[in-house]
Amino acid sequence: MKDIVALLEQHGYAVLAVIVFLEAVGVPVPAALALIAAGAAGAWHHLRPEMILLTALSAMLLGDTILFVLGRNTGWALLGFLCRIALNPESCILRSAESFYRRGRITLLFAKFIPGINSLVPPLAGSMRMGYGQFFRLDLLGASFYAVAYAGVGYLFSGVIEVIAKQAQIVGRAVEWLLFIAFLGYVAYRASIYWKHRKYRVVPRIHVDDLARKMAAGEGAAITVADVRSHGYYDPGAKRIQSSIRLEPNNLLKTVKEWPHDKQIYLYCT
C-alpha cells in the first residue's frame, strides 16, 4: 500500500490509468487497491478526486471496449482463450454465454467487482452481438460504481490508510504471507489438474500427416474420425475435418453402444 501511494504521488494519474487498464484487459493487477490509494491521495490533496474518476473511467472503458471489439470480431475465439484456465473450457464458454444471456445486462453493472468475471463480460457482450451504445452505457455505469466505491473508500478512510502506510512493514509482511499462501494454493491447483489428467497422457496419439496418409490410402472404411468439440463452441460457418462425424462427449457411451469394436476411432477437439 505504501508503495502504491508513493507511486501515485509521484506519477499520479498515469500509474492509475495503467493499473486500471491492465486489470480491465484481464491482467491480474490490484486495480481496486490502486483506486483506494488514489482516493486517499485525493483526500490528502495530492490528486484531484474528479480527475481520479475521469482517469479510472477512461482507462476501464478503453480496456473494456478493446475486449468488446475483439469479442465482436473473433466470435467465440477470445472467450475460448479466456476460458482456457477452466477445467472444461468448452462448457465454460457455454455456461458463461447462457448465464450472461439469462441474467441479462445487469451483469455489466456488478461484473467489475468479481475478479475473473470482469474480463469475461466485455468479450461476451461483443460475441453476443450486444449493441455498442448499450454496452457503453451499462459499462460506464458499472465502471462508475466500481471506481466510486473503491476510490470513495480510500477518500473516506484516508486517515486509516495513512496509519496503514506508516505501518507498512507489518502490512507488507502480512501481504507477503498472503501472496505465499495464494502461490501455494495455485501450485496445489495445478498439481491436482496434472494428477487428474495423468491417466490421459498414455492415450496413443497420431500425427495429422499419418492420419491423412491412412485416409488417402483408402483405409477410410476402417476408420472413424470424430469431432468431440462441444456444441456450444461452434460459430456459424465453423469447419471440421472432412468426413468426420460429431461425437457428443456428454452422451458418449449411449452413442457408441452400437459402434463396431474393430474400427479405429480418431478423435479431435480444437
Binding site: W76, N88, P89, E90, I93, A97, E98, Y101, A125, M128, R129, M130, G131, Q134, I193, H197, K199, Y200, R201, V203, P204, R205, I206, H207, V208, L211, A212, V225, D227, V228, R229, S230, H231, G232, Y234, P236, G237, A238, K239, R240, I241, Q242, S243, R246, L247, P249, L252, L253, V256, W259, H261, D262, K263, Q264, I265, Y266, L267, Y268, C269, T270
Partner: protein, 52 residues
C-alpha cells in the same frame, strides 16, 4: 492441458474396448497441414444466444 477433451473421450472409449486415438494437435494441426475441411452441418450447430 491440450487435447483435454479428446484425450478424456479416447481414454473412456479404450476402457470400453474401442481402439481409440487422439489426433495430435487437433483441428488446428489438421488445418495447418492443409488437409481438407468441410462445414459443420447445420444440425450439429447449436448457436449460442445473442442480443441481436
Amino acid at each position: 492441458m491440450r487435447e483435454a477433451t479428446s484425450a478424456r473421450v479416447a481414454h473412456i472409449l479404450r476402457e470400453h474396448g474401442f481402439d481409440a486415438y487422439v489426433i495430435h494437435g487437433g483441428l488446428r494441426a489438421w488445418t495447418k497441414g492443409g488437409y481438407p475441411l468441410e462445414p459443420v452441418p447445420s444440425d450439429d450447430v447449436v448457436l449460442l444466444p445473442t442480443f441481436s
